[in-house]
């Protein structure tokens, strides 16, 4: 096979740039070309391949293939194809362009060989994905998107701070793994990555934005941001013990909140946090087996979580409702969607012969082999919660339970196809995991098809089901919201406004007075000059030109403030990134 060493993100970048030029009716189909090309190119890439460009005494490595990132590249491209099929019926150019750039960012991060390229991809993801929230168009989506954006920029700045310190310490931009607690730079980079991994308390952007994003946008988001961050975590921070603790915390945190969530995509979003917890714990354990587990589980998770989000997306798309309190009794009208969703639910719950069974167990088993009994038991407890919510609570109260008398519109065929393909893959890798195992970073010695593994899952799942059946009324949706750490984000924003407003108002007042005094004195001065020419000139400047400019400036500022916040933020985001880059480049120059 002929191989081309092209950084795959370039296809998506080019796709995003060209999409606006393509006629609307072809656009959704053409959207699929970049991910397909990317998939083809990555298949041919060999380990150790490197594409670098010299830039200001540094080597920028746009493509570096390792035994870890290859598989992430494959799954990111594959899921972009599937999500593209799921979105074939959609003609929203904004979302198509945003999704293209978003995937470009994720693949840029995945194959980056140095910190600067990684950072560029990181920021591209943050900016592009924000538009997938805003594209929903509701007031809530605009506000949530803004918080999402600010939080990711905050994470990006932490990452950048760490990178700058690292470059100052070592003089090298190249990606290197850090020993546990190695340096302040490592801690800062970890904090920046932790934002995208959604480690509590840095996670609330996820749980509030994924239910708010567009139907198709959420499928991309469920796959890309957290998992690309898991990849970075696995390649830089393997063996950091604090991550075991954080991972277990995440696994249980998501479970608790999923009990309380009412929005179906909210439940799924909390289960992303929970499932990513397993991967984080796997990185923390840091053995070859656990890193394999993290990689395999990220691969499986992207497939079944996309399938679950697609199922919930169909419900929202066809009924306009997403709260359990407003849903129920849809089974007779959506049998196929229900069963496809359930394949995702069986997979995430670890049913034998579905792909959760063959990946989650590697992480739990590796905790067992390292004698981390508490961690292993708590991770098993979290998996009970996973089946309880995604496999039982959500489908029961959406497709069964009390009849909501909703009449769903027809599900677009492409959505069903996308779900069907993903459901097939979830089952395929569950039955034949060796295709995945052969590509894992280390030799895979673990065999999931052991008698005791079947026994464990059978007993666990049956009795979780029985407990659910006994207490199912307790799990009906409730018309409440579950307040999470976004409360503190909002509080902080409020604080900033209060703190900023008073001094600004004070200064504004003060300047106003000075200006009034200035005009009065100038007027006085002007009348003092009796020469016609001189008076006219001064008059024109003081009474006409100066105030006019100020009033005009003020008006345009007001326009921006009152007007569409989206335009402002998109402009600001580019300026911000540009500024950060400029600072970065100038600091690099200073260092060298």
């Amino acid at each position: 096979m002929i191989t081309f060493n092209i950084p795959p993100f370039l296809f998506f970048l080019l796709g995003g740039l060209l999409l606006p030029l393509i006629p609307q009716r072809l656009r959704a189909g053409i959207f699929l070309i970049p991910p397909l090309l990317s998939l083809w190119i990555i298949f041919g890439l060999e380990q150790g391949t490197r594409v670098a460009v010299d830039f200001m005494h540094f080597e920028l490595i746009f493509l570096q293939v390792t035994n870890l990132n290859w598989i992430f590249g494959i799954i990111f491209s594959l899921i972009s194809v599937i999500a593209g099929i799921y979105a074939l019926h959609m003609d929203d150019l904004r979302q198509q362009v945003a999704a293209s750039f978003y995937a470009a960012g994720a693949l840029c991060v995945t194959f980056a060989g140095d910190f600067l390229v990684l950072f560029l991809g990181w920021e591209l993801m943050a900016v592009a994905s924000t538009f997938l929230i805003w594209a929903r168009g509701t007031t809530e989506a605009v506000a949530t998107g803004m918080r999402y954006f600010l939080f990711h920029i905050f994470g990006g700045v932490l990452l950048l701070g760490g990178v700058l310190l690292h470059v100052a310490d070592t003089g090298s931009l190249e990606l290197t793994s850090f020993a546990s607690g190695e340096s302040l730079a490592a801690w800062l980079i970890l904090a920046g990555v932790a934002v995208n991994v959604a480690i509590p308390p840095l996670h609330a952007w996820l749980s509030e934005s994924y239910p708010t994003a567009t139907v198709t946008g959420a499928v991309f988001m469920s796959a890309l941001t957290t998992k690309s961050a898991v990849y970075v975590l696995a390649s830089l921070f393997a063996g950091w013990q604090i991550l075991i603790f954080m991972g277990v915390l995440m696994a249980l945190y998501g479970v608790v909140y999923a009990v309380l969530a009412n929005d179906i995509r909210g439940i799924l979003a909390y289960h992303i946090i929970s499932q990513v917890g397993y991967m984080v714990a796997g990185v923390g354990i840091g053995t070859e087996m656990s890193i394999n587990g993290t990689t395999a589980h990220a691969f499986s998770h992207i497939l079944y979580k996309a399938l679950l989000f697609m199922g919930a997306g169909v419900v929202l798309y066809t009924t306009g409702k997403s709260k359990l309190t407003e849903l129920g009794g849809l089974y007779s009208k959506q049998k196929l969607v229900f069963w496809l969703y359930m394949i995702g639910a069986f997979s995430i719950s670890g049913f034998p012969f579905f792909n959760g069974f063959i990946s989650k167990s590697i992480i739990v088993a590796s905790a067992g082999y390292e004698a981390m009994d508490v961690a292993a038991l708590l991770l098993i407890l979290a998996s009970i919660g996973t089946f309880l919510h995604t496999g039982l609570k959500l489908p029961y109260w959406t497709w069964f339970g009390q009849d909501s008398d909703l009449t769903p519109t027809k599900t677009p065929t492409n959505m069903i196809w996308a779900m069907g393909i993903t459901a097939f893959l979830c089952t395929f890798f569950g039955v034949y995991p060796w295709l995945l195992y052969d590509k894992l970073p280390y030799p895979q010695l673990y065999n999931p098809f052991q008698l005791y593994h079947f026994i464990e899952m059978t007993q666990l799942l049956i009795f979780t089901y029985i407990a659910f059946w006994v207490f199912r009324k307790k799990l009906a949706g409730e018309p409440y919201i579950a307040v999470d750490f976004e409360f503190f984000y909002r509080l902080a924003a409020k604080g900033v406004i209060i703190i900023a407003y008073k001094p600004v108002a004070l200064v504004d007042n003060w300047l106003g007075n000075i200006y009034a005094g200035f005009t009065r004195s100038m007027k006085g001065l002007a009348t003092f000059f009796i020469f016609n020419k001189c008076e006219g000139a001064l008059d024109k400047t003081v009474h006409y030109l100066l105030p006019k400019t100020i009033v005009q400036g003020g008006n345009s500022l007001l326009k921006i403030i009152r007007g569409d916040a989206r335009d402002l933020t998109s402009a600001m985001s580019y300026i911000l990134i540009l500024t950060i880059l400029l600072i970065f480049v100038s600091l690099l120059r200073m260092i060298t």
Binding site: Y257, D373, L460, T464, A467, W469, I481, A482, K494
Partner: protein
């Protein structure tokens, strides 16, 4: 849930317990040596998740849907 549903579930459980008693254990963790461990853990774990989360919800997490409207 019909009777045959319950019968299937309990029958399956019974088979797994019998296997646990007959086939020697191969996994590293101590709890795997206890037959029916996952039966108890599954039921109690699930019950705990429901009630502890609900309790936390009532204690501080759950708020009215209009909670943020005037925030």
């Amino acid at each position: 849930m019909k009777t045959w549903h319950w019968a299937t579930l309990l029958g399956l459980t019974l088979i797994t317990v019998v296997i646990q008693l007959l086939v020697p254990y191969t996994k590293p963790s101590w709890w795997d040596k206890i037959p029916t461990f996952y039966v108890v853990y599954g039921f109690i774990g699930c019950t705990l998740i429901i009630f502890v989360s609900k309790w936390l919800g009532k204690l501080m997490i759950q708020k009215d849907e209009k909670f943020y409207d005037n925030f």
